[in-house]
Amino acid sequence: MNGYKKSILLIIFLSFTMSCKISKNSETEPNNTFSNANQIEINKEITGYLESENDIDNYYLNIDEEQILKIELSGIKGVNHSINIFKNENSKPQLIKVIDDNRKSSSETFANLYVQSGQYIFTITHGSRDLKKGNIETPYKLLITSRSYLNEEKEPDDNPYSATEIGDKSQTMGYFSPAQNSLNNDPISRMKEIDWYKFNINISDNTPVLIDLKLSGVTGVDSVVSVLNSAMEEIINVDSAGTGEGEIITDFGIKESGIYYIQVSSKNFLFNHDTPYELQLDYKTYNQNSELELNNSFEKANIISNNIITGKINSPGDQDFYQFIPPFKNKYYKAGCTGVDGLDIIMTVYDNNRNKLFEINNSGPGGSETIPYFMIKNSVYFSVSASSLAASEPQYTLAIEKFESNEVLEIEPNNSKNTANLINNSITGFITYKNDIDYYLIKYEGRQKVKISVRGVKDGKIKISTTDQLGFIIKSKEIESDEEISFNEIFDKKGYIIVEPIVANFEFPYIINIEDL
């Protein structure tokens, strides 16, 4: 008897528990208008039918406090349905979101609708894409569940006016949900579901603010992050990681006070209704030895003030520009850029007129790119980019130092006859970068026989050629490592000496001596 009672009590308890979690109900037709909408409740599943191509089912939900709703609508075989969500403000329902994945037979889900006290109407209707038709055999099931609001995006936040506000050191949770936004008619991002955030920056003492932005990865989603200024101009866009991976913006410089916007979106309408992303924002004050993004052009180049600067390659296409104004003009300087492991740096140097002087990519990932020396006549520009970006913190350091030498040094660029260095008795040169060709001009009053002595590049191999007046090669010699060779040549008033690398070594110089015979 006791056992029988216990069983009954257990059944009653289980029934009570289950009914508390989710209870079921059915729609009551007609409910085709807002005025005859059926009331629904949170955690109470409701079943209904889209009986004909014209059938519309309206449900309303009264909300008494701020919270997050998850809306799930099961699929109807052969029917593309959708959910239109309205907020009833002053008895005037305002459409705030359309949930429609544009597919037949599939369910619709919206992971996080932010609601406040008031009335919301959920309209189950046909989707916009396929032929509208009824189905009286397969019902749909609509279930709305709820959770407390805490540091989450406030959907719908699909435009700058409804952007979720965040601040320094904030961690905000959001979803790549729903898959599409039918209300997005922007020609560039049409149908794209974009989560908008906004933050305020106050600049004091003209010291820029650096922001770090970190978006966590979500399974099955290839995400994109953009930052826009108050004029709605995109100032940075990051899409360096692949599907399931996060995106990072670090040390991005902001020089003007104002409201800035962040767009978080997915590529190819990828979604995940179950796993949220986390968006982390941090501010810090700019250090003048650090890069200040956005510096992707000559116009926005950062000034190198203390002969050293650190920066980061934020995305594969990121190119950081710096301007170096030498304290001593017409002097030789040495430049080096060192990246972390996995970061293959490309360092490019431009003259004051923004003409490319040379591009240095001699080392592999994690290696240092160096210009042994080069003459800086006026200011120069450096650009730093990466040919491979397999580092989690793709940081680099660019350092410049004055180069002192008593020798007559090559002046780069001298890659052609037109830029050849005039050589008198002796010159010291370097293979500055891969395939660097150095031209030297020799001039005499008449025909002159000379002895040319060359010491090669240690741990390298070079080819040295002499030419006629027009620059056509007459004689070539190859020099292994730092061995020294001599040969005679005749120059008819003018000729060139050309040095080309066969096995490049960028560390050690070659030396050419010329002696009249």
């Binding site: 056509f472 090669i473 070539s476």
Partner: protein, 147 residues
């Protein structure tokens, strides 16, 4: 007066002869100067398209001694050097410009001037000048003057 006229004539004659002697001496080799000159050209180039840029490598006694100036095949190209008093073998080797390569390349042996050598005798205080005239057919003729 008559004696004065004779003395004047004598001075003029001495001066004239003296000048001639000096002129003769300029043709002689001066110590430390070059005493061998060679100029080479193609005599029958009649089409600019076939007139290639070239030079000749000069070998003296089978040792590379230098090269001529560069120029078109139809132009005279020169080389000069100082040789010891002796009999010398002078050999020439033609190099033509390959514009696509941007360098001069040695012509095939079958296209080299024939003969591509000449023996010369260098005497003390004498200058030897050789003129090599080449033709399309590959034949070459040498003329030599000794001063």
């Amino acid at each position: 007066m008559h004696l004065n006229f004779k003395i004047l004539c004598l001075i003029i004659c001495i001066s004239i002869f003296g000048c001639k002697t000096t002129e003769k001496e300029t043709n002689r080799k001066i110590e430390g100067e070059n005493n061998f000159f060679i100029s080479i050209y193609d005599s029958d180039i009649d089409n600019p398209e076939n007139d290639r840029r070239c030079y000749y490598m000069i070998y003296v006694d089978k040792i590379e001694s230098g090269r001529t100036t560069t120029g078109l095949e139809s132009q005279e190209k020169y080389f000069d050097t100082q040789l010891t008093s002796n009999r010398h073998l002078i050999k020439v080797e033609k190099w033509v410009l390959n514009e696509s390569l941007g360098r001069y390349v040695k012509m095939n042996n079958i296209d080299q001037p024939k003969p591509d050598f000449i023996y010369i005798n260098i005497d003390k205080d004498r200058i030897v000048k050789v003129k090599l005239k080449s033709s399309k057919s590959g034949t070459s003729s040498y003329s030599m003057t000794i001063e």
